[in-house]
């Protein structure tokens, strides 16, 4: 059984100010499943709703973000639950860090600037486990050692560390309790390329050692190619294509996926790289029909009127495009 099932999820930002109200349809009818132990990637340009999807799925919903519809069910080995129906803060808190955990974007201020790293670890561990100080130290020491990090960082403050080091610490902190599912939100974006590589390897290592499920959100297709088993491509709040990474990279069915892949450099290919023309549409007022049609080179009359559904084209490969229906 899939460890995470998302059905028809709609998450909108709704604001009222100065008599005008606005609705940003950041996630608009998204369904997918993630299997235990796999690495599931979510790709797309900035502003396509992928970070919002991650917030909604991990239950970090705060106004102005609202869930209008849908189900997010987790099937852990010993319990199943729908995170959106949890009304009690305490129930949600029990899950966080232990069952589902977040690796945030590597910004300056993910770690509390006035607390030593050790304190941050204490906060997380003692929040969920009833352990003694020596048990705590042993646990953290083992974890850091496994990740190739030095114990001395525990006595530092966040601003004394480099960006890459801070991100490694954050990853260590997010995985110290061996969560079932890890959500990683653009874990490498704020880092420079050399450091990115190390961070990607670290994530891989943790996943192999802890045998957990990883959901990775990033716009960087090369990281998806490196890490993921399966990949979903999002466009304007919807999933437009989903499938095995190999299948998707070798045989993209959706014109948007092809565009994203065409912008990637490839070894041995020196032809100029094309970037996707145009910009993603406003999520306040998305275009009618297929949301991609204004940028699509193959747009037909039908695409302007009807929205294509996500359909299985075989081999667990799903695409939302009329081209795949043989122009029916």
């Amino acid at each position: 059984m899939a460890i995470l099932e998302v059905k028809n999820l709609k998450a909108y930002y709704i604001t009222h100010k100065y008599g005008r109200s606005s609705t940003v349809r950041a996630v608009d009818g998204v369904s997918f499943e993630v299997n235990k132990n796999e690495i599931y990637g979510i790709a797309g340009e900035s502003g396509c709703g992928k970070s919002t999807l991650l917030k909604a799925v991990s239950g970090l919903v705060k106004p102005p973000l609202q869930i209008l519809d849908g189900e997010v069910s987790y099937n852990f080995s010993d319990e199943s639950l729908n995170i959106l129906s949890l009304n009690d803060d305490r129930q949600r808190r029990r899950l966080r860090g232990v069952r589902i955990s977040l690796i945030p974007q590597g910004s300056m201020s993910v770690l509390n600037p006035v607390r030593r790293i050790r304190k941050s670890f204490e906060d997380v561990v003692y929040a969920h486990l009833d352990v003694s100080e020596s048990e705590f130290e042993e646990m953290v020491r083992d974890h850091l050692q496994a990740l190739g990090l030095d114990w001395t960082v525990m006595h530092t403050y966040p601003h004394q560390l480099s960006g890459g080091m801070r991100q490694r610490i954050t990853i260590a902190l997010s995985t110290i309790l061996r969560p079932d599912i890890i959500f990683a939100d653009e874990p490498t974006t704020a880092l420079d390329v050399v450091v990115q590589r190390g961070v990607v390897q670290l994530i891989k290592k943790i996943k192999e050692e802890q045998q957990n499920t990883l959901i990775l959100v990033t716009h960087d297709m090369s990281i998806h190619a490196n890490l993921c088993d399966r990949l979903a491509v999002m466009y304007a709040g919807e999933i437009v294509e989903e499938g095995d990474v190999q299948t998707l990279f070798s045989n993209p069915k959706h014109p948007y996926t092809s565009m994203l892949l065409n912008s990637l450099p490839r070894v041995g290919d020196s032809s100029p790289r094309a970037s996707a023309p145009g910009a993603p549409p406003s999520l306040v007022d998305p275009p009618p029909g297929c949301r991609f049609h204004p940028r699509c080179p193959f747009a037909m009359e039908r695409c302007r009127k009807e929205a294509p559904l996500l359909r299985d084209v075989g081999n667990r490969h799903r695409v939302a495009c009329f081209l795949q229906e043989g122009g029916q």
């Binding site: 604001t15 100010k17 100065y18 008599g19």
Partner: protein, 286 residues
């Protein structure tokens, strides 16, 4: 500009209240010119009358009509606020902009001076000045004196705004595309500075009005000029509270509270409108 005021007026009750009250007070200030009595003179009307048709708010113990006196007080207090705020705005803007744009040694020297003005307790110094000037202290002089001391904090605010604008992407784009400095400042930066100036101006007027009342209550202004402060001063001098002449003491007190409340609401409404987070939500809408 007009559209912004209209939007705020329609959708923010605080703004609507503040704007209406202020407009009302401004009208009163104009009407006060037609006062049938000389507001500086004593004993122009019978003393200590209860409110009546002829004297809607009654008269006080020094023979003045309270309603007309209050109207003149509103005019003078607003005038003082505007004079002092205008002077301190000019200084704050010049210092803030020059310091922010010029930078370097100039900036450092000017900022040490500005910091001194921020740190130095202004109130005792104002008292010192008022004590010496006492006899020659009219509205304009008082406005200038208060204005000369109320600029430092806002100069720092404007400077930091300029510094942040200088670092923004669009400034660099403008510089690289060969736009003249003057044009960058007037076309690109002024739209950010103007609303900030407006919000700080209102806060400054609140401060000035409060300062006037305090100085007057200490007897440190020209006590013959009707202002909110001097009205309270005379009422207290003649024991209006203990003699329960409520129409005399409460009129200036209520005017003061309402005026400050109105200005305060205007300023919070505008600063909320200026808050980048609110603005972001509004941009998304378009």
């Amino acid at each position: 500009m007009f559209a912004v005021i209209r939007d705020l007026y329609r959708n923010d009750k605080r703004f609507a209240f503040g704007f209406t009250v202020l407009a009302f007070f401004v009208i009163i200030a104009f009407v006060s010119r037609f006062a049938p009595y000389d507001m500086r003179a004593w004993n122009t009307v019978p003393r200590d009358l209860r409110p009546s048709l002829q004297h809607p708010l009654g008269t006080n113990s020094i023979g003045q009509d309270i309603m007309w006196k209050a109207m003149a007080a509103i005019k003078n207090s607003l005038l003082l606020g505007v004079i002092a705020a205008a002077i301190s705005r000019v200084i704050a803007i010049v210092v803030g902009l020059l310091s922010g744009y010029k930078g370097g040694l100039f900036d450092r020297v000017v900022m040490v001076l500005t910091d001194s003005f921020i740190i130095i307790p202004l109130f005792p110094i104002l008292i010192l000045i008022a004590t010496i000037l006492r006899s020659s202290l009219n509205m304009v002089v008082l406005g200038i004196v208060i204005g000369l001391f109320g600029w430092a904090w806002d100069a720092r605010l404007f400077r930091s705004q300029i510094l942040s604008l200088k670092e923004r992407e669009f400034t660099r784009t403008a510089v690289f595309s060969g736009l003249k400095t003057f044009k960058i400042v007037t076309m690109e930066h002024l739209p950010y500075i103007v609303p900030l100036v407006m919000a700080t101006t209102i806060n400054n007027v609140i401060w000035v009005i409060g300062m006037e009342v305090t100085l007057s209550m200490l007897g440190l202004s020209n006590l013959n000029t009707p202002t909110i402060g001097t009205m309270i001063y005379w009422a207290l001098q003649y024991q209006a509270i203990f003699l329960e002449r409520w129409n005399w003491i409460l009129t200036p007190v209520i005017i003061c509270v309402v005026l400050i409340l109105a200005l305060y609401m205007l300023s919070t409404s505008i600063s909320e409108y200026l808050d980048p987070r609110t603005r972001l939500q509004m941009i998304r809408k378009r």
